[in-house]
């Protein structure tokens, strides 16, 4: 299959231009491929040094589900912030429906695949899946927004 010329990667430094979250809340390390407005895939490597492992939980470290969801939402964000005019824009979550299937441990690589279902007027509906060693560990339906755009369409009170 011939890949579209628009499919690109983002390393950790390049990623920062399109994802406004920063340590300790940036939950993705690398975007292995993306197509603006269509999809973004990549991963988060989890070492034993992650800030949350010592407290979640002592003696039984695993990645909090909320942060797995955050990782998927951040990856989906990249699919939108790479669209022309959206670079550097802040995104907000509107609603998410998520299912956690397996625990994610220190040493795991959380591979994330996200797809845009619709993007209109600053609102993105999308889906995401997280995998460890090709096993599905979490998946979500997500609604995220870029308030800068979204708010332009709201009635004035």
């Amino acid at each position: 299959m011939e890949l579209s010329e628009s499919i690109k990667t983002l390393n950790f430094v390049e990623l920062l231009e399109f994802q406004p979250n920063r340590y300790p809340f940036l939950m993705i390390d690398f975007v292995t491929e993306y197509e603006p407005g269509v999809f973004a895939n990549g991963f988060k490597n989890l070492t034993n040094n992650e800030w949350f492992f010592p407290v979640h939980f002592q003696g039984a470290p695993n990645m909090p589900g909320a942060l797995q969801l955050e990782a998927m939402a951040q990856m989906l964000t990249v699919a939108i912030t790479t669209l022309p005019g959206n670079k550097g824009k802040v995104t907000h979550a509107l609603s998410h429906k998520v299912r956690f299937r397996k625990e994610v441990f220190p040493g795991d690589c959380l591979r994330i695949e996200t797809k845009v279902i619709s993007w209109k007027r600053g609102v993105c509906k999308g889906v995401g899946k997280g995998f460890v060693k090709d096993e599905l560990v979490c998946d979500a339906e997500m609604l995220i927004t870029i308030p800068d755009i979204f708010e332009k369409y709201l009635p004035k009170k």
Binding site: R121, F150, K152, Y153, L154, P155, K156
Partner: protein, 78 residues
Amino acid sequence: MSNIGKIENIFRQEFNLDEKFDLKTLTYQSIPEWDSVGHMSLVASLEDEFNIEMEMDDIIDLSSYEVAVKTLVKYGVE
């Protein structure tokens, strides 16, 4: 079903309003369900139902049920 009936149905379904609720009194943010997210969902449902794409100014001005009915006339929904 008439178009006005379809519009009414969309408003009632989007905002969980029963038949007793007088839609003529309904305005943006007058009920918790018609918030910013509800507004975008309402617009999307109206567009899907009538196969139209509303202009930005009309979406901003669509601040009540009655305005919605009038605005949709512009798109051939009467």
